[in-house]
């Protein structure tokens, strides 16, 4: 059946040629592609620094790099991965590409702002990278005062300003999505017919819009303190360093939901598509995204239990942190219920979805351990915390990103990648990931602090395991780079709907037209009606 397919003669990729047609485009799909390339570069650079970290930790002695250099490595790794890869990853690439076709719109509400956000991202990225390579920063991605305000003599202000700039790109993306989802839906596309991917992005956008300005102003305060000698956070000038942590985490805890919420949205699409069933409890899953976004704003001080906040505040925030687990767990249960008695198949995106479910659950549960006051006093700033957030950010967010990328790759490029190699890569990622990060739970529980470049001899076995796992993981990430690029020329033509998925975006050709649809679609069905699609599939081609 597939070999009869042809690439559509007219599509967004061949509508205009040459560099200018890309750099000046207002097409959300082309902008998404440029984001894809940019964040891939960032992911690679961030990965290089991770290699440096794992090399150093392969032996107990601090022998590969000096302590100061090591500090710069993990800072660069954290800053690049958090602010320049994870935060833009799914929203700016998949969200950008897919939200308009999913809701039946021709474009986002503000195409020009979309392009501007990309340029802002580039400026922020170049700024940060330059500052990082010409000297680096050694404060960690958290920039805690007073060290960042007065102690460190590295490039704190330039890197922080790079993050400040990139923050505006994130804000503008979120703003664009909110308005688009409110005002650009096709006739008949009611809120409860929206794909859960769109709901998740709506919630994410809320967090981007409400949280990012707070980190922006915090950076401004840090910059005037460091650059102009104002007194704000530095205790020797009467300031309160804990205030910085409050402001920082007011953004940065919600920011972890900027990273995970879109992945949760991808997950809902994958689970439903590959078990050929309506999602279980649609409205609960939809509202849980919004609930996570809102609850995410009231738990931040769980990062500060040992930083000198008051005991009462610690108790309040511990309790509130537990509450955010409810909507998160709800999603996992609903996916499990969706799988139940489904016609499950194991294509590559689904492999990632399975990996996601397990790893996200472990990450979330260990989050609850950490949110438990007494437990956190023991575990704070150990490798246990590192393992916790990597289970969610790498095991969750990046798995979701890769799953989504594989799922929509045929829509984006019009071609299929090699199923064989992609399954191998998915398995390598899963195995490598667990090998890398599970030992870190153990070594952290045993008391190995994070951010040191040496450790006691008896912890070497676990650390070597972790370093070995990292190389497997690295391989798992390199493979897609090869076969996905290969598929661009040699891949089989995919056709409009290779997975038989139900979403509106699969109803148009792949790759889509610049306007996404030939005519404005009218939506007259509920989401995830798989019984119907199965019947219709035969006629699609």
């Amino acid at each position: 059946m597939l070999d009869q397919l042809k690439m559509p003669a007219r599509n967004y990729l061949n509508n205009g040629h040459g560099l200018a047609s890309w750099l000046l485009t207002k097409d959300h799909k082309r902008i998404a592609i440029m984001y894809l390339i940019s964040i891939s570069v960032m992911f690679f650079l961030g990965g290089l620094f991770a290699v440096g970290i794992r090399l150093e930790l392969a032996t107990p002695a601090g022998d590969f790099v000096q302590a100061g250099t090591y500090n710069k490595f993990f800072t660069a790794h954290g800053v690049i991965m958090v602010f320049f890869f994870l935060i833009p990853s799914i929203p700016a690439v998949l969200g950008n590409f897919l939200i308009p076709p999913m809701i039946g719109a021709k474009d986002l509400a503000f195409p020009r702002i979309n392009l501007i956000s990309l340029y802002i991202y580039w400026i922020g990225g170049v700024f940060t990278l330059y500052a990082m390579l010409s000297g680096g920063v050694d404060t960690g991605w958290t920039f805690y005062t007073p060290y960042s305000a007065t102690g460190s003599n590295s490039n704190v202000v330039p890197v922080a300003l790079g993050i400040f700039i990139a923050g505006f790109s994130s804000i503008l993306t979120g703003l664009n999505f909110i308005v688009t989802i409110h005002r650009m839906r096709a006739p008949g596309m009611t809120w409860f017919r929206l794909p859960l991917f769109v709901w998740a992005h709506y919630a994410t956008s809320l967090v981007q819009v409400l949280g990012t300005p707070v980190i922006a102003i915090t950076i401004v305060m840090l910059a005037v303190e460091r650059g102009l000698g104002f007194g704000i956070f530095d205790p020797s000038r009467g300031g309160d360093p804990v205030l910085f942590q409050h402001l920082f985490w007011f953004y940065s805890h919600p920011a972890v939901y900027i990273m995970i919420l879109p992945a949760l949205g991808v997950q809902s699409e994958l689970i439903s598509t590959f078990s050929r069933k309506t999602i279980f409890g649609y409205s609960f899953v939809a509202f849980s995204s919004v609930a996570i976004a809102v609850f995410g704003f009231i738990v931040w001080a769980h990062h500060m239990f040992v930083s000198g906040i008051s005991t009462y505040a610690a108790m309040v925030f511990s309790f509130l942190s537990f509450s955010v687990a409810i909507p998160s767990a709800l999603k996992v249960f609903n996916w499990a219920a969706t799988l139940y008695k489904g016609a499950i198949s194991f294509e590559t995106p689904m492999l990632y979805a399975y990996g996601f479910m397990g790893l996200f659950t472990i990450g979330g549960l260990t989050g609850l351990f950490l949110a438990t006051l007494g437990m956190d006093i023991h575990l704070h700033d150990t490798y246990f915390v590192v393992a916790h957030f990597h289970y969610i950010m790498v095991g969750g967010a990046i798995m979701g990103y890769l799953g989504g990328l594989h799922f929509w790759w045929p829509k984006i490029t019009g071609r299929m990648y090699s199923e064989f190699f992609s399954r191998i890569a998915a398995i390598l990622v899963f195995v490598g990931f667990n090998l890398t990060f599970f030992p870190q739970f153990v070594v952290g529980y045993l008391g190995m602090p994070r951010r040191y470049h040496s450790y006691p001899d008896e912890m070497q076995v676990l650390n070597v395991l972790s370093s070995a796992g990292a190389s497997v993981l690295g391989l798992g990430y390199l493979l897609p780079a090869i076969y996905l690029v290969w598929s661009l020329k040699k891949g089989e033509v995919a056709g409009p709907n290779p997975w038989g998925a139900s979403g509106l975006e699969w109803q148009t050709q792949s790759p889509p037209l610049t306007e996404n649809f030939v005519e404005v679609p009218i939506v007259d069905r509920e989401p995830y009606e798989y019984e119907h699609v199965a019947a219709k599939e035969k006629h699609l081609v």
Binding site: H182, L210, V214, P235, G238, D240, H246, F250, F297, I298, W300, A301, I309, S310, T311, Y312, A313, V316, F317
Partner: protein, 101 residues
């Protein structure tokens, strides 16, 4: 297709009200109300801001969505300030931080 056009007299009234309230807030600052000086100042400022939002910024005539957006902003600002107070408030307001005493 133009939006709601408010009468000029309304704008003038709002302007006058804002000026009067400005004088009021300065005046109130010179009266010793103890703890309530701050409260009064903030209530007046909040009232002025509401006038500007409601009439000058046309939120009165705007869609429900716009109203909701404004409310969201105020709500999250309240979360920010309120939860800061959960920590700093329970640390005892009037005490100096340890590094200064």
């Amino acid at each position: 297709m133009s939006g709601h056009v408010s009468p000029i007299s309304l704008y003038i009234t709002i302007f006058m009200a804002l000026m009067v309230l400005t004088v009021a807030t300065v005046g109130a600052a010179f009266v010793d109300l103890g703890q309530f000086n701050f409260l009064v100042a903030m209530i007046i400022a909040g009232f002025k801001a509401t006038l500007v939002i409601w009439y000058f910024m046309h939120v009165k005539y705007a869609s429900k969505l716009t109203k909701l957006t404004v409310a969201t902003g105020i709500f999250f600002l309240a979360i920010l300030l309120g939860l800061f107070l959960v920590d700093y408030g329970s640390k005892a307001f009037t005490q100096m931080p340890p590094f200064l005493s």
